[in-house]
């Protein structure tokens, strides 16, 4: 699905740009780029940064109730990392000529999207395990691909993020493995959590390639290097062995191993559910945005005080001079 460009691009510059993408060159902020490339990157990076920030909420929910000091320190560090990831990507997006402030406002106004996975509730401690293991695990598969994206600042932010995500995934899997070898109730808690997070995790990769409105263009610009379905398959193949290793099962009666391709084939994904959550009618969409808005409002006095202090200091140093 190709959208007509809002402005007619200079055909010669466009041709040179396409050739640069074909040569796998890295596009840098000051380089000429087609408007569609800039627009798609801003949309995608903003959506990615928002996902990191909103992603702090479901886990933040459990910080005060972590079962030990060790787990609490780990969870605090992980949630702080997610905030940091949001900042890396906002700063990458700003190199395209937008202001972070405006991007955040679009999120608060409900105009920008973020990953739908964060619209599901975190009901038990095992969900901290499932999120780290599955949600961050899926994010690693996606972000490892994006670390080769054609836009330099985005790719570099992804390299940094991928290094940190590995800790996130490990700590989550450790939580699940610990529960899985615990009491019968702990084991049931782990299984119940896996049952709830499995399908939404597979949906994180987005619709099937044929139903994905932006995939063709993102691939053409060298931003995406693999299709949604390829990435999803890679995640499934990696994860099934990990599920078996801790003696749990995925909630999919149709799961089969395909000898010829070496792939685990899953049953059908409920795309109606996916679109329902994307369109704002998931279990926690309203709650997440309300929490973000509250945090933004509660922080207003801090932002204002910092500005007033800086103005005052600047005034003082001019007076002294």
């Amino acid at each position: 699905m190709m959208q007509a460009p809002a402005v007619a691009e200079d055909p010669q510059r466009l041709e040179e740009f396409v050739a640069r993408i074909a040569r796998d060159e890295s596009i840098e902020p000051k380089d000429w780029m087609p408007e569609r490339y800039r627009k798609q990157l801003i949309r995608m990076m903003a959506q990615h940064a928002h996902s990191e920030v909103v992603g702090m909420l479901p886990e933040g929910n459990w910080i005060t109730r972590a079962p030990s000091l060790r787990r609490k320190m780990i969870l605090l560090a992980k949630v702080q990392d997610e905030g940091g990831h949001g900042l890396y990507i906002y700063c990458g997006a700003e190199t395209l000529g937008v202001d972070r402030h405006d991007l955040v406002q679009e999120l608060l106004d409900g105009k920008a999207k973020y990953s739908s996975i964060f619209n599901y509730p975190t009901l038990t401690w095992a969900d901290m395990g499932a999120i780290g293991w599955l949600v961050d695990g899926a994010a690693i598969v996606n972000q490892t691909m994006l670390a080769k994206a054609s836009y330099g600042p985005y790719a570099r932010a992804m390299v940094r993020i991928c290094k940190e995500e590995n800790f996130h995934k490990r700590q989550g899997y450790e939580i699940m493995a610990t529960l899985a070898r615990g009491t019968r109730a702990q084991r049931a808690m782990a299984q119940e959590s896996l049952n709830r997070w499995w399908w939404p995790s597979l949906m994180m990769f987005g619709p099937h390639d044929k139903d994905s409105p932006n995939s063709e263009e993102l691939t053409r610009w060298g931003i995406k290097r693999k299709s949604n379905d390829e990435l999803r398959q890679r995640f499934v193949n990696l994860t099934i062995a990990q599920v078996k290793a801790i003696g749990l099962t995925v909630p999919d009666a149709d799961l089969t191993y395909d000898e010829a391709s070496g792939d685990w084939k899953t049953g059908p994904i409920d795309w109606d559910e996916f679109w329902r959550v994307v369109k704002g009618n998931g279990p926690c969409n309203k709650e997440r945005l309300a929490a973000r808005q509250k945090a933004h409002d509660d922080g207003a006095w801090v932002r204002e005080a910092a500005l007033v202090y800086a103005d005052k200091q600047a005034g003082r140093s001019t007076e002294a001079a």
């Binding site: 000429w32 560090a77 890396y88 402030h101 207003a300 932002r303 204002e304 910092a306 007033v308 800086a310």
Partner: protein, 97 residues
């Protein structure tokens, strides 16, 4: 005068990974002044000892060459192969130079 929604200025962050290494660009942060920028840079880019030293520079203070300059600006370096050791032939008998 100060609206809480006025954006904080942008600073570029450079981190030195280890003693003796050069400072490298890590990314940017928003902050109201230099001290604030250093603290934000530490929290954003050095949570895992990625830096033993940090520099922050107001983004507006950086002057950069432009991509259009690429050809003519760097031209003087293109035709001086004699600046590289490979330009020179060493007599065969010399094993270690």
């Amino acid at each position: 005068m100060s609206s809480p929604d006025r954006s904080w200025p942008l600073w570029e962050v450079f981190t030195q990974g280890k003693d003796g290494e050069p400072h490298q660009h890590a990314g940017s942060v928003h902050a109201t002044d230099a001290e604030h920028a250093l603290q934000n840079a530490r929290d954003t880019y050095a949570r895992r000892n990625e830096g033993v030293s940090l520099w922050v520079v107001p983004s507006a203070a950086i002057t950069a060459s432009t991509p259009e300059d690429m050809g003519p600006f760097f031209d003087p370096a293109n035709d001086k192969a004699y600046r590289h050791p490979q330009f020179y032939k060493v007599p065969k008998g010399v094993k270690v130079f």
